[in-house]
Symmetry: C2
Subunit: 95 residues, 2 copies
């Protein structure tokens, strides 16, 4: 049981980390000009420390905040939801 | 201020309702065979009443639950994140 919980936590962490990387990548070298965490936070109506935590994979953020961050980056919500097959498979296998 | 809060709530509600419709559509006539809410809930490791609330647009669900629902439907997380331009614009304009 402890192992099962740990595996679950690993899967969540991998997913959140990848999402954070997607945000970081789009923010620093995405379709628009690179912008700072502060600027992104301001545009999305969120706090800079929150954006920092998202990029570090520390936030299991909600649908609405995913959308706000995407739109503040000038992209579509779906554009932030691309994940490695390995990450997706690890979650899928445990469903 | 009250108006601003109301508008914000409307935008969130529209987004969640559309997400719920996406889940409903995929569940009932998506790529796989139609499955019941019960079956989807079971596959995703979530409760049936939770899936019902998601489909009614009552849940601002988290990234990980979005992924679990998508994978239980046999689709990619991004596939559930398609929204009407109008919905997206309404959120975008207020950022």
């Amino acid at each position: 049981m402890a192992n099962k919980h740990k595996q679950h936590a690993d899967d969540v962490n991998d997913l959140l980390r990848e999402f954070g990387n997607n945000v970081y990548r789009q923010r620093t070298r995405g379709e628009g000009n690179p912008i700072s965490q502060e600027k992104l936070a301001e545009k999305a109506g969120l706090h800079r420390t929150y954006i920092g935590a998202v990029e570090r994979g520390e936030k299991n953020l909600t649908l609405f905040n995913i959308c706000k961050i995407a739109l503040a980056l000038g992209i579509q919500p779906a554009d932030l939801m691309e994940f490695e097959e390995e990450t997706i498979n690890a979650i899928s296998e445990k469903l």
